[in-house]
Amino acid sequence: MSPKNLTRREFIKTGTLAAAAGTFLLNNPKSLFAATEEKSRVVLIRNKMVINEDGKLNSGIIQEMLDESVRVLFNTKETSQAWKKIIKPDDIVGIKTNVWNFLRTPPELENAIKKRVMECGVAEEKIGIKDRGVLRDPIFQNATALINSRPMRTHYWSGVGSLIKNYIMFVDKPSDWHDDSCADLAALWKLPIVADKTRLNILVMLTPQFHNIGPHGFSPEYVWRYYGLIVGVDPVACDAVGLKIIEAKRKEYFGEDKPLNPPAKHIELADTRHHLGNAGMKKIDLIKIGFEEGIFI
């Protein structure tokens, strides 16, 4: 499969930028975590075979999707080359996941990430996979690199549960960050425990949730099989792409514009107020790979 929506010239241009960014990232990650004039590259990869008929995930396909997405993201021929751009053998790596019991980061994806990190030469005991309790986990306390992964879902207070929001477990009292519909979640990314450490963001769009119901906010009626992963270095750009898909699904399902309430303003403010990344689609190079039906973007 190959990138679908870029001209060759654009692909070479952004690919070169991404490759350069990858090399640069190990030495100066801060430069990629600010909204810049450069576009943020985001890979949306979809594969219908990733979910079996009985709803179980195919771990082999998950691995393939992850591998292809990072190859395209960092413009490398080999998967290992891509990972070595972001992970060094002496890194201590925290894989920040999300364990919400109705829709968690799939263990199959966690394992796929861990496998590639270990292939970069990182010892298993220097890799942590965790959501709650990261503040008290020695690996996350001493991490030199973070990989952030969670499913996107609608959320009663922040509009959506996003990659940006996934770092709320790095504070003692998450509710302190709920003011104004979680408007300033991007400021979490400047906390010393995470600042400039995130090497990769993976927004899980395998079965995203587009509407809430009840106190737990979940009903199987409001998730759908999208078969996708959104992968990028810029968490804001990944979230912005995911949000567009959620909004489009809501419009299709409800038959009318049904804006998220509250709006997921923390994504836009992550760009305009906190300069964490790019939220505007004009500043995102979206590369779409794979299954096209019902792509919504």
């Binding site: 549960g161 009840g214 106190p215 009903s219 804006p259």
Partner: protein, 301 residues
Amino acid sequence: MKTPLYLYTTIIISLLFIVVNLSAQIKKDPSENLPGNINGWSVNESDRYFDNETLYDYIDGSAEMFLSFGFSKVFNRIYSRGNQPDILVDIFYMNSSYDAFGVFTHSVGKLEHEFGQQSQQTEGAIIFWKSNYYVSILCHPETTESREAISKLAGVVDKSINETGTLPEVINYIPKRNLAEESVRYFRHYNWINSHTFISNDNIFNIDQNTHGILARYKEENENAIFLLIMYPDNALAESALKNFTDNYKPEIIPGQTLKLTNGLWMEVKRIKNFIAGIFDSSSKDFTDNILSSVESIINK
């Protein structure tokens, strides 16, 4: 004169009847009426309670919604049965029936009346409100057996709540003609102002716990509109809120005048006594005028 025995007997029976009746009325906590076993499911964990401080530990993502209305505690019970999925029963003790109604309206998709005062049943879930209780009974993934069990449990909780709750007064002022009933949203926190269309990220209507807001959709053949009605404690507060809105929304907005937007849709916002009424995303000027004149005549009645 000697008091006849039958008179003593009558008094004692009457007193007993009153005592039993009173105790039935006092014992109105619906969690106490839940069975220990149902259709093969049984309770094998201790019941749990959560309050304002601990709700975050229990529900991930919606605690703020309950806090924005007001509640005292949540009762949680888990039923388990072999290879079947667990059943979660949550009873929220909201501060008032307004709060129970408000929370319910914010996630309702299709409105039903099978349980409580209003209910909704989706795959693996029954949600309803009655009096000051908001009740959720959940089983994921749903099975044939669990569907029957959660329905029975919902019936038990429903029957154990004797009283019904009153709706917020502001409901009485919304026009019924062309109202999409399932679209009614009640709120007292500005976070919910965008329930049907984006209006603002900020509290431009000065909404607080003393204001009562309603958002709803109106539909008639090819006509559509979103209606906002906010009831303030007095006319001065409504006027002040209107000024805040006009200062911070669109510069071209003039209260009481219909405005055609660049997308071809219409809007209008005006004060009527201690209310602010607004129409957003309306398909025509006539539809806008009709709804606003209806609400004006209801308020002025």
